[in-house]
């Protein structure tokens, strides 16, 4: 090979690759509105993205698979945890993770910022990214199922939707804080106490890791009925 030939290879290789890449960049921008629901990219979502940057969330958490690798991927976290759980964890990590081996710093995120962050994470969850991450697909499906039948939500959907970030029921939700069947077997509360416990766990059992749940009293009562029903059901069956 001559020096001239080598130079020719250099220019052809580099320029052709750059041309392909630039064309793809153009096409990426053309198709981005379709893949990322740009019409739902509200100022609330943008404010949430700024909160995400402000507290440097991305240096522990990954999102779209990039970032710190130290804490869970947040791409579909809205589906996994739901709004109230996200806000509770963001605002009181030292309570939620008091007994966990892994700690999240208490960053002093305000209520408003936390809601904006949730809006950003909710929007991020809608990005059509070929069903990644794979392990969160089941949460996405469950959420969409609930959305579709919004008027016919049964109590299991409500309970898993509200508490599924930590509790599980018949293989749904995350089993961090116990399965409802086991809990029903264990607890001795009456309905009033259980409702109080759901709304403010510290008032019933000081020092407990469970965060206060941001559900209204009506929902809390429904969930309490549901859990207590499991108890009766179990005893009758036995």
């Amino acid at each position: 090979m001559t020096g001239k030939g080598a130079r020719l290879i250099f220019w052809i290789g580099t320029l052709s690759s750059a041309a392909i890449f630039l064309w793809m960049t153009y096409d990426f921008h053309r198709q981005t509105p379709k893949y990322t629901k740009v019409d739902q990219l509200t100022s609330e979502v943008v404010a949430g993205k700024k909160v995400w940057h402000k507290y440097n969330c991305n240096d522990c958490h990954t999102i779209l698979g990039f970032g710190g690798y130290y804490a869970p991927d947040m791409t579909k976290s809205f589906y996994r945890l739901g709004e109230n759980n996200l806000v509770t964890i963001i605002r009181n990590p030292e309570v939620v993770y008091a007994k966990s081996f892994r700690k999240m710093p208490h960053l002093g995120v305000s209520e408003g910022e936390a809601r904006q962050l949730v809006a950003f994470l909710k929007w991020t969850g809608t990005i059509d990214n070929r069903h990644w991450p794979p392990q969160d697909e089941k949460f996405v499906k469950a959420y969409q199922e609930r959305e579709k039948r919004v008027h016919k939500l049964d109590i299991v959907d409500i309970a898993v939707g509200a508490c599924g970030g930590c509790h599980s029921f018949e293989n749904r939700g995350r089993n961090v804080a116990g399965d409802f069947n086991d809990i029903a077997k264990r607890i001795t509360y009456d309905k009033g106490t259980l409702v109080r416990y759901i709304l403010n766990p510290q008032s019933v059992r000081p020092g407990i890791a469970m965060p206060p749940q941001n559900v209204d009293r009506e929902t809390a009562e429904e969930i309490a009925d549901f859990i207590l029903a499991l108890k009766v059901h179990k005893e009758v069956r036995r």
């Binding site: 020096g3 052709s16 990322t36 804490a71 081996f101 991450p133």
Partner: protein
């Protein structure tokens, strides 16, 4: 043996780079402690993982850039056969760059950050970095313009540093859309590492090989063209392997997959090329350590960046391994193999010459090289094992993130021990470089 007085400025770039290297590795150890043990909440609140990680990664970028700049300033006068255009500019640039870097590190401790991994530096500091980069390019370009002869190596070096600076600009704006944000984030990170940095590497390695082996310039430059062509041809579209799961069109899977599968090719060529030059050398072996570093660089580059990268950028595999500790394994091996070893090769080329030492006592340097290389390889394996565990538990058995991470604590305790050994290797090497002593002639080497 320094031929031009202005070359001396480069040594301060390299010294600062070595100090930052030590800081980077120390921060890395702290990160592995976070994984291996449960730290008390009070400590996490004050000095969080995110803070330590921003220091770990930004200092990595900073010391490598300092190494490249220093290397360029050391080599350029030799290549252009004249002093640098301005030593004053070089000093001003170093002071601005170092000032920005130190401010950034202190700022991270107080949560002054843009919250973009690897590009956390706040906007005002970014301006300083851009100013430093412009000074650098001006100085390099004017030195080349004023030289009597124009060589391929000069152009390659200039092209590399210009694209390095241009691509950095894409990381500065705030993007509203997360997928666009990451699209351009990779313009900096990927196109740097697999584009501009590779071009600079290829040019510097070509120069050092030419000087050390005495092989004909024409032969070296021909290889340089072909290698760089392949680096850019595969590397540019290869960026696509980062666009699989960010909400981009499907064809990126194909383009990214095929082109990143080709990415090891130029590195294989680089190994072959290095090997051939070393075999056909005309000069006698003077310092064995330089050779060790050149060959170590080529082979480690191939394994860490080439093979490890190849293994997990194929879309069907990447779907499961993306965002796991496997990426961490690849990142460590690739950065150490390609760029840490490159910088150390430059330092071992420059330091003895600057101190007028023809032959130096190299026992400590050899120990440093082998301790670093072996422990980093083991570290890559340990991260790899942790990553395979994580992938299997999380993505196949559908076990929650935190639960999967509990099984990794054991491996991160091992990583911590290996990390301490690696730090010993780094300290040995840095100490050796700072205190090079001539070998008395007549003593057996």
């Amino acid at each position: 043996m320094i031929r031009f007085e202005s070359q001396r400025v480069s040594l301060w770039y390299m010294r600062l780079a070595l100090v930052l290297f030590c800081l980077q590795v120390t921060m890395g150890l702290w990160l592995s402690i976070n994984y291996a043990f449960t730290l008390p909440q009070e400590l996490v609140d004050v000095f969080a993982f995110s803070t330590a990680r921003s220091i770990h990664t930004n200092v990595l970028v900073a010391w490598m850039l300092l190494g490249f700049m220093g290397g360029t300033y050391f080599i350029l006068p030799l290549e252009c056969d004249r002093d640098l255009y301005s030593t004053k500019i070089a000093w001003a640039q170093l002071i601005i760059f170092a000032g920005a870097a130190v401010t950034a590190v202190v700022g991270f401790l107080f949560r002054w950050t843009r919250g973009k991994p690897l590009l956390e530096i706040p906007f005002p500091l970014n301006i300083l970095i851009v100013v430093a980069a412009l000074l650098f390019i001006t100085n390099v370009a004017l030195t080349i313009m004023k030289s009597k002869e124009r060589t391929a190596l000069q152009w390659m070096l200039l092209g590399g540093v210009v694209s390095l600076a241009l691509l950095y600009l894409f990381g500065i704006p705030f993007y509203q859309n997360l997928n666009t944000d990451y699209f351009y984030w990779w313009w900096v990170i990927h196109l740097w590492v697999e584009g501009s940095w590779e071009v600079v590497t290829a040019a510097i390695v070509a120069f050092i090989i030419m000087e050390v082996t005495g092989v004909d310039r024409k032969v070296v430059e021909k290889w340089l063209y072909v290698e760089t062509a392949l680096f850019l041809f595969t590397g540019i579209v290869g960026t696509g392997h980062h666009y699989y799961w960010i909400g981009a069109p499907d064809y990126w899977l194909w383009w990214g997959g095929v082109f990143s599968a080709l990415e090891p090719l130029p590195i294989v060529l680089m190994v072959v090329d290095t090997w051939m030059h070393v075999r056909e050398r005309k000069n006698p072996i003077i310092n064995r350590l330089t050779w060790t570093y050149i060959i170590g660089l080529a082979i480690y580059h191939l394994v860490g960046a080439g093979l490890w990268g190849f293994m997990h950028t194929l879309p069907p595999i990447n779907y499961y391994t993306h965002g796991s500790q496997i990426t961490v394994s690849h990142g460590h091996l690739a950065f150490f193999g390609a760029y840490a070893l490159l910088n150390l090769t430059i330092f071992y080329f420059a330091f003895p010459r600057a101190k007028n030492i023809r032959r130096y006592r190299d026992t400590a340097g050899q120990w440093g090289f082998w301790i670093m290389s072996i422990s980093m390889f083991l570290l890559g394996l340990v991260f790899g094992i942790a990553g395979i565990l994580q992938t299997y538990l999380e993505r196949f058995l559908d076990i929650g993130y935190s639960t999967a991470h509990i099984t990794m604590m054991f491996w991160f305790r091992i990583a911590l021990i290996i990390g301490i050994i690696f730090l010993c290797g780094v300290l040995t090497t840095v100490w050796h470089l700072f205190t090079l002593k001539p070998l008395e002639e007549g003593t057996a080497e």
